[in-house]
Structure formats: structure tokens, C-alpha cells
């Protein structure tokens, strides 16, 4: 029996738990299938082409595997985990049920239908276009329609959160929005605006030409639409992990959130700045003047700023937690953190690797420096530190308390889970470092290098390291999936009163003392739209008014 400070909580109902749990089932299933393809690519690079042995089950092609890996891991695992997790942060944060649960269920099932519609053509080999699906490399219409349904389904779940928030606001007019709900709502608002890019790309160009209604596409315009969504997609992945780092991890470590004001400011800046930066993915594209690219490069430095705020606040919160546990010294406090808790360890290790991901990200954003690494192995090396570690390893860590909370069952073999987090960390260091080095040496990304005629000898050692890192990551992901399945499938239940709680950190300073402008939507939304119009408007107008759908589709 613990005596808690008066911190009212909302207990998830059985239906809530089932609904959030359904998201996790799909997410973890996608991760477990998608992750099997990753090592196949890594092994191919080192000269062990296992795809040739998989021909009897229809997985004969490196690029089919690469498409499945990208779509299932980067799009499906993330989107389903995020919508499930944000359902929880919305209702637990606001301490009220969803306003229209049926609406959220509609969104969820629409995403499931979309997933099936996209997965079938991928596995059949009718959509080996990778997860960026650049036209005029043409996929089956079912792939594009499936992706559209996933996106629209996530919009609908977002509407459900907004209606819930509006209802809460009416009941609580003068209360600061509880942080975990606040962060989730901003993430979803940003997502609604950001995904307009691929929605327009798919509905105006890709679906019509894949159905044979138009003769072709304008590929450069397609790229501009895609990257309108493509960069904020990164923040859609990242912000839910930030919610946990800011407002949950400190509680798990025994501390509080260091700065409520700064945390909220960081989230508003992400809303404001994560969209008008897409041209930094198109630095080497034709058809876009260098001036616009330079403007987006500057804004990209701008969006690095709230990540630097995050670094400070998260580290300060952890240092505060560690000092309460008796940790001392400039760095000595780090050892006082509860490293034995796999959920904490996963998120701390994710955060450490994310620092390197951030540094690499600034390199990518650096206009002409980007010439050295654009479209090289450096890029997947980079985003395996960000989406595949900062995000994925954090989500794994979150699920180490979330699944026990949802099922009422104890985590199966916590020590095993702890080993899993460290294997991910070590495997990713080996994999990612080798990828970065290969990129600097000029190795192209998304290429079956095992068959490429131009590979010089000096790449070989690094290609081997890629496959060693990939093998370790494969072991780690299998351990994760087994832990999750065994946790949910076991008969043992935790004793009454011992249930795993949702960790929510208090703020050091009463959130009611955070100024109102940090809890007011209107000016930030207006600013977001205005900045997008300024940073994208003229060039987008130029490309749309000169659009020519003259590029016919070709199969991969």
C-alpha cells in the first residue's frame, strides 16, 4: 500500500484498454514482420543473399523486402503505436473518456483496412516502389488507396481526440491542459496539416494514373508534395517519444518534469516549424531554385532549436530524479538512474543515440554539405538512429509498462527485456556507424550492393559490419516480440493493488503558473499556416501552375 500525493487519475475502462491494446497488436505484428526483412538487406550487402532461398514463399526480391521493411516498420508500426499511445495520453491526461468512441473505432478500422490493401500488393510484388513511392515508378492502385485509408483513418482518430479536448475544455475552462494530453493534441494537429501533402499527391496524381485515368504524373511536383509530408512525418514519430521523455520517464526515474513552460514552448515550436522545411530533402533536386532551398535550410536549423530545448529539459529532469536517489557529480548522477528497469533503460539508451542522430540531422540539413551524403548509406544510417532507435526503442520501453498495465499481467522476464534494450543499443551502434562511414565513402542507399559492379574493396569491411549489426538487431527484435507475446499470453496476473501504473510526472512548478499563451491554440495555428504559406506558397504555386502530367508510369 503506497500513499500517493493527491493526484487524481483516470482509470482506463476495459473497453479503453482493449481499444489501445488493439493498436499495439497491429503495431507489434507489423514490426515483427517488417523487421525480418531488414537483416535480409544487411546480409545481402555483405554478400549473403538469402532472398534467393526465399523464392518458394514469394520473397525473391531485395526491393520487395525493402519496400515491406520501410512500409511496415516506418509507417505501420509507428502510426498504429502512436494512435494507440495518444488515445491513452488523451483520455488519461484529460481524465475523461473519449467524447465519441465510435469515431475513434471507425478511424482505427479504416487504418486496418488500408493496411491490408497496401500489404497485399507489396507482398505480391506489385508495389516494389519503396516507402517513398516516387512517381513515375508505378505501383498498384491498391497500394496508394491503402496508404490513403491509413492516413485518413489516423485523421479520424485525431478528430476523436480534438472532440474529446473540446468537451474537456468546456468542463475545465481555466485549467492548463495536462501535459501528456497537450503534447498528443499538438502532435495530431501537426499531422493533420502535414499529411495534406501526400493526400494531394495521391489523390491528384498517383491514384488517377495507376487507374489509367491520366497519362502520367509530374514527378518533381510529386516530390514537393511528398516532402511537404515527409519531414513532419519525422516529428509525428518523434513527438510521442518526447511526451514520454518529458512527462513519463522522469516519473519512472523517481523525479519530476523540470520545466513546464519550456516543454510547452518546444511543442508549439514543433507545430510551427516542422512543416515548412521539406525542401531540405530536395537540395539536389532540379526544378527548385536554390533560394527556396536556402530558406528551408534556415528553417530546418530553426526546428533543431526545440530539440535542443528538449535535450536540456529531459536531461535536467533526469538529473533531478537521480539527485533524489542520491546521485552526485557532474556525470556520476547518471549511474544513480534506475538502469535495471527495462522501460527506463530502453528510453535512456534511445536518448543517447538520438544525440548522434540529431548531429547527423544537422549535417543533412546543411545545404551544400548535404552533397557529400545525399542518397548515400549515411541517410538510412541516420534515420536508424532517429526513427529506428529514438522512436522505436522508446516505444519498446513504453510497451514494457503499457502492456502490463493493459493486460493486468506482469512483464515476462524483465531481465530478458533489459538485455533486449542493450542488444538494440549495441547492434545499432555497429550498424549505424558502418552505414554512416559507407555513406561518406560514397555507397548509395537502397541499392542491392551485393550485385553492384562498382563496389570498391574498401567498402567490404563496413558492409560486413552492417550485416553484423543487422543480425544483433534481429535477435533483439525477436526478444522484444517474444517478451510482448509471452507477457500477454501468460496466465499469471499481478496481485490486486500491485498493478503497473501509468507513469505521469508532476511538474516542478505548478502548471497553472505557466502563462496562458503557452496553452492557447489560435495564435500558434495561425502562425503555422502563415509560415507554410510564406515558405511554400510561391514555389508551390510556380510548380502547380507549370505542372505537366507528361511522365508516363513505368514498372520497377
Amino acid at each position: 500500500m503506497t500513499t500517493l500525493k493527491p493526484q487524481p487519475t483516470y482509470e482506463l475502462t476495459k473497453e479503453d484498454k482493449r481499444f489501445v491494446g488493439l493498436h499495439l497488436v497491429v503495431a507489434i505484428f507489423a514490426l515483427s514482420v517488417g523487421s525480418l526483412f531488414g537483416p535480409l538487406q544487411a546480409f545481402e550487402w555483405a554478400g549473403f543473399d538469402l532472398y534467393q532461398y526465399l523464392e518458394p514463399i514469394g520473397l525473391d526480391d531485395y526491393y520487395k523486402g525493402l519496400t515491406a521493411h520501410g512500409v511496415l516498420n516506418a509507417l505501420v508500426w509507428t502510426t498504429f503505436f502512436i494512435t494507440g499511445f495518444l488515445t491513452l495520453t488523451t483520455i488519461v491526461g484529460l481524465r475523461r473518456p473519449l467524447r465519441y468512441p465510435k469515431l475513434n473505432q471507425l478511424g482505427f478500422w479504416m487504418m486496418v483496412v488500408g493496411l491490408v490493401m497496401a500489404a497485399i500488393p507489396i507482398l505480391a510484388g506489385w508495389a516494389s516502389v519503396l516507402y517513398t513511392f516516387y512517381p513515375p515508378l508505378e505501383a498498384s492502385w491498391s497500394f496508394y488507396l491503402g496508404l490513403t485509408l491509413v492516413v485518413v483513418g489516423s485523421w479520424i482518430e485525431g478528430y476523436g481526440f480534438f472532440f474529446t479536448f473540446i468537451a474537456w475544455r468546456k468542463e475545465n475552462p481555466d485549467v492548463r491542459t495536462p501535459f501528456i494530453a497537450f503534447g498528443g493534441l499538438i502532435t495530431m494537429a501537426m499531422w493533420q496539416v502535414a499529411t495534406l501533402g501526400i493526400a494531394v499527391e495521391i489523390l491528384t496524381m498517383l491514384l488517377p494514373y495507376s487507374l489509367g485515368l491520366t497519362g502520367g504524373t509530374d514527378p518533381e511536383l510529386g516530390r514537393t508534395f511528398f516532402w511537404f509530408t515527409g519531414h513532419p512525418l519525422v516529428y509525428f514519430w518523434l513527438l510521442p517519444a518526447y511526451i514520454s521523455w518529458y512527462a513519463m520517464l522522469p516519473k519512472q526515474a523517481g523525479g519530476k518534469m523540470f520545466s513546464d513552460s519550456l516543454a510547452r514552448l518546444a511543442f508549439w515550436l514543433f507545430l510551427l516549424l516542422s512543416i515548412p522545411v521539406g525542401f531540405h530533402h530536395q537540395f539536389v533536386d532540379p526544378g527548385i531554385p536554390t533560394g527556396w532551398k536556402a530558406i528551408h535550410a534556415s528553417l530546418t536549423y530553426g526546428v533543431a532549436f526545440p530539440s535542443m530545448l528538449t535535450l536540456f529539459t529531459v536531461v535536467a529532469s533526469l538529473e533531478y530524479a537521480a539527485s533524489r536517489r542520491g546521485g552526485k557529480g557532474l556525470f556520476g548522477w547518471i549511474r544513480a538512474l534506475p538502469w535495471g528497469d527495462p522501460s527506463v533503460s530502453a528510453q535512456l539508451l534511445a536518448g543517447i543515440l538520438f544525440m548522434f542522430g540529431g548531429i547527423g540531422g544537422i549535417t543533412n540539413a546543411s545545404y551544400n554539405v548535404n552533397l557529400v551524403i545525399h542518397n548515400t548509406a549515411w541517410i538510412p544510417g541516420h534515420f536508424h538512429l532517429t526513427v529506428a532507435t529514438a522512436v522505436t526503442l522508446s516505444f519498446m520501453g513504453i510497451s514494457y509498462w503499457l502492456v502490463p498495465h493493459l493486460t493486468g499481467k506482469p512483464l515476462w522476464k524483465p531481465k530478458w527485456a533489459l538485455v533486449q534494450t542493450w542488444l538494440w543499443f549495441v547492434g545499432m551502434i555497429i550498424f549505424s556507424n558502418a552505414m554512416h562511414v559507407l555513406g561518406l565513402l560514397g555507397a548509395p542507399r537502397r541499392t542491392a550492393l551485393g550485385t553492384a559492379p562498382y563496389v570498391p574493396d574498401e567498402w567490404n569491411g563496413h558492409l560486413l559490419r552492417v550485416s553484423i549489426g543487422g543480425a544483433i538487431l534481429l535477435v533483439s527484435v525477436i526478444m522484444y516480440v517474444v517478451t510482448m507475446v509471452r507477457t500477454a499470453a501468460q496466465k499469471e496476473r499481478v496481485a490486486v493493488g500491485e498493478e503497473v501504473q501509468i507513469p505521469i510526472a508532476e511538474s516542478l512548478r505548478d502548471p497553472q503558473l505557466t502563462p496562458l499563451w503557452l496553452d492557447t491554440w489560435k495564435p500558434w495555428l495561425i502562425g503555422t499556416v502563415l509560415l507554410i504559406v510564406l515558405a511554400y506558397g510561391p514555389q508551390l504555386y510556380e510548380q502547380i501552375s507549370n505542372a505537366s502530367l507528361s511522365s508516363p508510369g513505368f514498372g520497377p
Partner: protein
Amino acid sequence: MSDQQLIPEEVPSFHADNYEKKWIAFSMVLLVAFAATVAIAGFALGFQIPGDESRVDPRTVAETLPWSEPGVRDLGGGEYDVYIISQQYLFTPREIRVPAGSTVNFYVTSIDVQHGFKLQDTNINMQIVPGQVSKLTAEFDDPGEYPYICHEYCGIAHAAMFGSLIVEAGGGS
């Protein structure tokens, strides 16, 4: 945490710790310095990236000059234009020769899907998009063979797509 927190505060206000303020200032200076460095390198020292060159019709470009005769054009004075067509899964021409000491303008387009053009050991790195012409310029002082590889996935045999720029010593052809 500052001592000020001991004074009861009732009015909402923006609050940042002193260390936090220093970190904010440091972050801003760092990011502005990065931006300035890149801007100077790009716009004063000429380390430039591809821009808006020109548009073509991908269905007919291969039959129209100069693309109907891809390859090297000697502009005189050590300057060369090179026109390269990319398609699944080859570059035309597959081999280019220029003498050492030349300045070479690369013009590349595609007649089918998107491709990439990365000239190893140089700053030439371009996305090749049907309907668009990509252009970058480089100087070649050192003789040797520079592979140019397709670094954008373009289909099943993408890994086989490459060509060679040969920089010849001593005056060349």
C-alpha cells in the same frame, strides 16, 4: 533552481531556470553560426547545389538536340558540357573522357523513372527527375577514373546502373 522559487508566485509567468537560459542562448548562437558557415560556403565561396535549370518532355527528349547526341561538347578554353541520358538501367554515354584541368558542366535528364547521379570523390550529387534537367559543374585537376553511379532506386536492376568519367593526363584527346 534559483532561490526565487521560495518567494510565493501567484501570477502565471514564463519561467526558465538560469542554466536553461544559458543553454537557450548557446543553442541559438550555435545554430546561427552553422547557418552562417553554410551560407558563406554556398553563396560567397561557390559550393553550390543544383537549382532550377530547365524542363523537357520526357517522352520526346531523346529525339531532340542536344539530347539526341549525348556526350561531351568542347566549349574551348578547357570548359566542357556533358549531356547524359538516364534510363532503366543505364547511362548514355557510359564512358566520358576529359583532359585534366577541365571544367565540366554536367547536364542529366531521365526518359523514364527517377534516377540519381553521384560522381564519386566529387561534390556532384544530383537527383534525376523525368521532365527536368539537372545541372552541376566541377573542375577536374587529378587524372583518374571517377565512377558515376545511380543512387536513386529505379527498379529491379538498379544496382547495375553506373558509368565512368575518365580524366586523362597531359592534354587529353
